[in-house]
Symmetry: C2
Subunit: 222 residues, 2 copies
């Protein structure tokens, strides 16, 4: 494969990764919307459509392997491609979390709501923003943007703790709410895990960009 073709294929790989990111972000959005607007059919849609994400993950993995196989890549390309494979795995797991939220939503929607559903929408928004920014920072190799994602992770953790405390009060006051409150706590943990995956991606980006020279030194032929 000539260099030009290689560059084209690398560009396609990044583009597909962006598609994957947009897809999982949309699934998270819909899963939380299903919960907030009490639309179980929307939650079922999210659950049913997971295969699409799995298929896209395999396609992206294939593209990355093909690039590694067809050309002995330079050290920087090498790390870019293996990073893309890791990011791909994180995105797929964000998709899994969207399915988990949808499953929790289906169960929760069998019961009357506990109102208000507190900071869960804010957590969801932050987790989606983090996913988008982490992926953008990869494509643009923008370390500052990646660092912004790490900062927002603390915000999500604080929201998660706040959600927990409020729901704990509800449960203490009225044990009839326990099962529903725990369902909401689990949703907040799903969102926390999404933020964790976005954080993993951002950390990969920082390492990719700033660890480059160090790594390059390690990879000089012995």
């Amino acid at each position: 494969m000539e260099r030009l073709h290689f560059e084209d294929e690398l560009k396609t790989l990044k583009q597909r990764l962006l598609n994957m990111g947009a897809l999982v972000e949309e699934r998270v959005h819909r899963a939380v919307l299903a919960l907030m607007e009490r639309r179980p059919e929307l939650a079922e849609e999210v659950i049913a459509a997971d295969q699409e994400i799995n298929d896209l993950q395999i396609e992206i993995d294939d593209r990355a392997l093909k690039l590694l196989a067809l050309q002995a890549p330079m050290a920087t390309d090498l790390r870019l491609i293996t990073s893309a494979m890791k990011i791909n795995a994180d995105l797929e797991r964000i998709g899994d979390q969207a399915v988990n939220i949808a499953q929790n939503a289906v169960k929760l929607l069998n019961h009357p709501p506990i109102k208000p559903i507190i900071d869960i929408p804010r957590m969801a928004e932050a987790a989606q923003d983090m996913t988008r920014d982490a992926l953008d920072s990869f494509v643009k190799k923008d370390v500052e943007m990646a660092r912004g994602v790490l900062k927002r992770d603390d915000e999500v953790d604080a929201l998660k703790d706040a959600v927990f405390r409020v729901l704990l009060t509800y449960m203490m006051a009225d044990p009839a709410t326990i099962e529903r409150a725990i369902g909401l706590i689990l949703v907040s943990r799903n969102l926390e895990r999404i933020a964790d995956h976005a954080t993993n991606i951002a950390e990969d980006v920082i390492f990719l960009v700033e660890g480059k020279d160090v790594r390059h030194h390690h990879m000089e032929p012995a």
Copy 2:
């Protein structure tokens, strides 16, 4: 790098991955032990020692990249090495879960116990076995063993549901137990995530072995 040297380096990579596996497995064991035997100092040890696991992850990642860079590997070696990188990431996250269990243990040990601590030790044992078997199945390329890991994941899910139901009953009966019960539910979720990571590894192994021919076909030079 000559082929023989390459084989040696590949063997070292596998060996280090086994070391990593043994290390994280021990951390899970200790974190759960700290909870069961009410030893907060042991939990603090697990929390403090996390850097060792992170360092080992970086070392293994480095070795894998070096192998990819120094020799344009054959298609089968290529997938083996990229699988090792993915497995490495899963092991590191199992280590993170051990830290989370230890953190939950520290909090729980501030309060008198809820007895009995039900099926959590059984869940822990299953999750550790799955981690060990998943890694063994990688080194031995043993698909049957990998499939065994997938089966045990259902067992862990069933135990998790059982833990949840019992703790829900406790909470309903006595709201004073709510905070501690939720702490234990979170530990059971940590163990579930460890089992999930072991499952990811086992799935990688199955794909590595059975998807080989298909993948090889894809990677013929265009």
